[in-house]
Symmetry: C2
């Protein structure tokens, strides 16, 4: 959906790749800041360009819409950590760590606003949803399934379980409570969900 800056025309200027990368980062940072300051509905490509110190056409060359820019900004944020999962050999302890970290992310006002805005875009544009699933959410679900496979080998999870469904038993309640604001989204809740999900898939 988006073209990488490094695929831009080569040989223009001394180091176009590095300059492009600097512009790209500036655009993503500006997007993140502006979503927080003015909200997604008020976000414009013009404002992103002005804040990032680039021309509007630079943004349109890499992204087809403001939804696509924001998705990459969110992806960039997520990439800081990468989708790795701890494996200490104790499934409950590891998933508790992961779920608490997700609660902390939802608690971050910038990430909260960006994720809600992305949710709206996805509701309006199933293609963006497919892209998000493939590039952001999918890899996270897959490393979690991999962690559950390790738990199966260690005798901490039943062998016959539906792995994608099992993964969702951990993550869905946090997402639901965040999205629908049905109750406090705390570390205590993360721990409760972890304990119940671990029981749900126990041998």
């Amino acid at each position: 959906m988006t073209r990488s800056p490094s695929s831009g025309a080569p040989g223009r200027g001394p180091d176009p790749g590095r300059r492009s990368e600097r512009s790209r980062r500036a655009i993503l940072t500006a997007t993140r800041e502006l979503v927080f300051e003015v909200g997604y509905p008020g976000l414009t490509i013009e404002a992103i360009a002005a804040r990032a110190g680039v021309g509007k056409q630079t943004i349109y060359r890499w992204w087809p819409s403001k939804g696509a820019v924001m998705f990459d900004a969110l992806l960039h944020e997520a990439r800081q950590e990468g989708p790795a999962l701890p494996d200490t050999g104790d499934l409950a302890a590891d998933m508790r760590t992961v779920l608490r970290a997700i609660v902390d992310e939802f608690d971050d006002p910038v990430l909260d606003r960006m994720t809600r805005a992305l949710g709206n875009e996805i509701n309006n544009d199933p293609r963006l949803g497919a892209d998000m699933l493939e590039r952001l959410l999918g890899p996270q679900l897959e490393v979690t399934a991999e962690r559950l496979r390790a738990a199966q080998r260690a005798g901490q999870a039943a062998s016959g379980i539906d792995l994608p469904a099992a993964v969702e038993m951990f993550y869905a309640p946090l997402f639901y409570r965040w999205m629908l604001r049905t109750g406090p989204l705390t570390h205590a809740y993360a721990d409760t969900v972890t304990a119940m999900a671990v029981r749900a898939i126990a041998p």
Copy 2:
């Protein structure tokens, strides 16, 4: 947030209450049809008024925004059934019935579009979210908690569980898979989630 039509000025015409109720239903039906036909972003108060055969000011008298009209249209739809929960004495069987019915609802293209549009409005307007929680989702969660209390008395659920969290173990996975399109939302998935959630809260 919205004023009931029956609270309109009395004594205007032979039966203003009944006429108001007719207008209200026409407005909600028109909203439901239009959301399906043109999508929520394209929905306007003008189009609803034209389709319902009422003046725009009639709509604005009862609802402050198109989001509020759509929320009432969705509530009206949900009210057709009411938030009752079966209690045959078999928790797993009853929750399987409920979760399969939810899958069928998400599978209905009109409800799907309306619920996605409402989700967007809630993301943009936390007050609407609070209203939705109080009038639509809250009662459903409460009758489910009541069903789980009965299961506790029948020895089918542990006595010490966190009831709101337990309720979310049933509903959240369906919502997550619908919202994020992470996999097929089928009766088989409803059955898998039910089985895992029942295990999660077992004594």
